[in-house]
């Protein structure tokens, strides 16, 4: 079945960031999804942006130095349970 209200590449790219951030309303999200199913260039762009966002998300975790861990343990030890 053909898409009754297809969006073009300009519109898909305008909505792409909000799409990847899960910030679109259902009708807009479905419009972008349908476009990505038929447009190889926009699909590649979306996959690239999704992967880059994932790489940034991985920066959430940082190696904790022994010195800082010891500082936090001392801090926690100073808290009174009462």
């Amino acid at each position: 079945m053909s898409d009754p209200n297809p969006i073009d590449c300009d519109e898909a790219l305008r909505l792409l960031a909000a799409f990847l951030d899960h910030e679109l309303h259902l009708d807009e999200r479905e419009g972008v999804e349908r476009h990505l199913q038929v447009c190889r260039s926009c699909f590649s762009r979306a996959e690239f942006e999704r992967r880059l966002k994932g790489e940034i998300t991985r920066l959430r975790s940082e190696e904790v130095s022994p010195g800082f861990e010891e500082r936090v343990r001392r801090l926690l030890g100073s808290f009174s349970p009462a």
């Binding site: 926009c42 940034i56 940082e62 936090v72």
Partner: protein
Amino acid sequence: MDETTADHAWFERAVLGLLPELLGTARRLTGNAQDAEDLAAEAITQAWLHRSSLRERERFPAWLHRILTNLFLSRRRAQASRPEETCLDDEAEFSLFERLHQPFLLWWGSAEQTFLDRLLRDDLIRAIEGLPDPFRIVVVLADVQGLSYGDIARSLEVPIGTVRSRLARGRALLQKALWDHACDAGLRTRTPDVRPEHA
């Protein structure tokens, strides 16, 4: 073990388990190790002092991150009354994908995926830490912490449209910095700004 001692033991375990994430978020927000450690330590102290306001323990990670973010933002507001806005007309729409993408290679490889394969954690950290404050903070809150636009707008006390525009500019600046780094390192050759044709 009585109840208060058990609470203390639980809090200690929960904090130590979250320490890498808490420090990582603090590091991305502050941009340097010393400030990040001080911020994380203060967030832990505030969390202990206000632990009675935490109703569900499974929400502890998000709650502690929110305390850390609010502490960072309140310190920052105290230091600068108004966030500086940077003029980025030339870079506001920069797309790394458009620089890398080669449509004629679609069927047997992709330059942009290869670029991401070679991207180093340190390159990405350097690019994020180089962003001007207003843009770095929004990128960290959205992409590192995974907050919604609405939550970011409430945390920063700005309209949601400002969040969208700062996020778009911040991401464009980040991609420009990664591109410049790749060119400087000889991994890519600078090319004119030619956008790929779409299907």
